[in-house]
Amino acid sequence: MGIILEVKNLTKKFGGLTAVNDFSFEIKRGDFVGLIGPNGAGKTTVFNLISGFEKPSSGKIRFAGIDITGMRPFKIVNLGIARTFQLVRSFKFLTLLDNVTVPCLSNRGKQVSKKLGAEEYASTILASVGLVDKARIPPIILPHGDLRKLQIAKAIGTNPELLLLDEPYSGLSHEESEVLTELIKKLHDDGVTIFMTGHVLRELMALVPRVIAMHQGKFIADGPPKEVANNKILLEAYLGRGGEFA
């Protein structure tokens, strides 16, 4: 056990707009943490900064003791952080199997996949998310729920220690959400540290034991969901001022 992710005074400015403002938190290995905040709070930017897709204006990010601030995305992946994207992306013209084989061919993925062979190993990952019968199909014709599962399958391919899930429930039906929850829980049970953002608060608050809240790029609260849910600033951020909702 120990601290797997340490974010210190993280700041990101886009011109005049400060998207992330002096944001700090720690996540321990094996944690299951949610990141909440209204639209535009900066959640995806935080994820982009951690995973290397954006460079911070200032601040430090440490993963398992290594300073990964400003490191290139593929290097961060090969250290053990995987992420999914809010807007589902895939290798459109490759089969599902090829989609998952690619991350299994990364340096980190190869260490695990080389025993079975990358394609075989990718097959087992597809099976674990329930997509193996669609292995030869390209993602173009798949429903949204399957594409979200595909993203997670691809993340699994890189054998992550920390998994960043950006709005994984967005656009899912109730049944699809339940399946996804089971999948995420299983990953957590297997030892992966999970850090996820959410907009569908009910599911998220019921799922995670700890929640970090942000608003307008700033840290608001950190604690168990029930506590954070009662935070005044957060309530105002989501619901606006005015006594009728308090």
Partner: protein, 340 residues
């Protein structure tokens, strides 16, 4: 022992597929064709056009590998073609290299340019990459045209048969031998490119094409693979360019480095289907013979115009190649004939 067993099985099952049998059929025709007519001059007249089409097949395939498979749009492919040709011509005419050594060395010169162009272009994507490669090719063309640098780059005259102490000959004085050398090189090139595309390395290149950010997020060093793609593509473009220099026994800026050469690569590969490597060959043959026919009927003025119109039509109506729908129809006919 088991590897050979798998190979023969694989070839057998490939031969049974429509594209496999079509390919074999065309290869057989290309092999027999030179011996078909008793009238030597008739055959030799056409023979060189087939050779030219095969040279451009390799060139178009090299472009398709970079753009259709790896997703790196190149509008300046003439660079690799032309540098390959110039370097090969220079080595033969001025350094007395034998042909069998000059061609691969010329191709390696093209690969060096693949690195020189590829590395600065790495940050560019999509249309910006296309413009970047186009810009490089225009700059290179201008450099080669400069009179003041003609002592290094031979100026607008270029290198011709007796520019240097050694003669710049054809691949062989016998068009038949020339034909088969190019034919075999084309077959080997296509097999190599196919194997690369089918391999895990090829899958990674395609993933970069389909979603570069996603490939990054999958732990792939996209920069390194893009550089590899440029180098492989420029190798084959350089081979084609070297052959072309020997086909004409001359190189000059507009003929070997001109934008219209880059245009040809795009045109030929697009006609055959952007991601089907073999389609590049069909596209090349189509255009070489279209040009030949146009020149024969005295419409040579309209060649570039008709090519441009064809490109517009292809891009507008047949993103996956005009030949593909035709081939799909033929496939259906094939299935019916075989009673499936």
């Amino acid at each position: 022992m088991s590897k050979i067993y798998n190979m023969t099985d694989y070839i057998k099952s490939w031969a049974k597929t429509f594209s496999g049998s079509l390919t074999i059929f065309l290869l057989v025709i290309l092999t027999i064709f030179p011996f078909l007519s008793q009238n030597e001059s008739f055959i030799f007249f056409f023979l060189r056009h087939f050779t030219l089409a095969m040279i451009f097949s390799i060139f178009a395939a090299s472009w398709d590998f970079l753009t259709g498979i790896s997703g790196q749009i190149s509008f300046g492919h003439a660079i690799f073609f032309g540098i390959g040709g110039y370097f090969c011509a220079y080595l033969i005419a001025f350094q007395g290299f034998p042909i069998w050594l000059a061609i691969p060395t010329g191709a390696l010169g093209a690969v060096a340019f693949g690195l020189i162009i590829g590395i600065p272009c790495l940050r560019l994507r999509g249309p910006y990459l296309a413009l970047g490669t186009l810009a490089f090719s225009l700059i290179l063309l201008k450099i080669f045209l400069l009179g003041s640098l003609s002592h290094i780059f031979f100026g607008s005259e270029g290198i011709s048969y007796n520019s240097g102490p050694y003669p710049l000959t054809r691949i062989s004085s016998n068009p038949l031998i020339e034909y088969f050398i190019v034919f075999i090189t084309m077959i080997i090139s296509f097999i190599v490119i196919f194997q690369i595309v089918k391999s895990k390395f090829g899958t990674i290149l395609k993933s970069i094409r389909d979603d570069e950010t996603g490939a990054d997020a999958s732990g792939i060093n996209t920069t390194r693979y893009k550089v590899y793609a440029f180098m492989i593509s420029s190798l084959f473009a350089g081979i084609a360019g070297s052959f072309y220099a020997l086909y004409n026994t001359a190189v000059n800026p507009s003929g070997n480095l001109g934008t219209v050469i880059s245009f040809f690569a795009i045109l030929m590969a697009s006609l055959g289907g952007l991601t089907t490597i073999s389609g590049s060959s069909l596209g090349a043959f189509f255009f070489i013979f279209l040009e030949f026919i146009l020149i024969e009927i005295g419409a040579s003025l309209y060649v570039q115009l008709i090519f441009a119109i064809t490109l517009i039509i292809v891009v507008r109506f047949a993103e996956h190649g005009i030949l593909k729908p035709i081939i799909e129809r033929l496939k259906d006919v094939w299935d019916v004939l075989l009673g499936r």
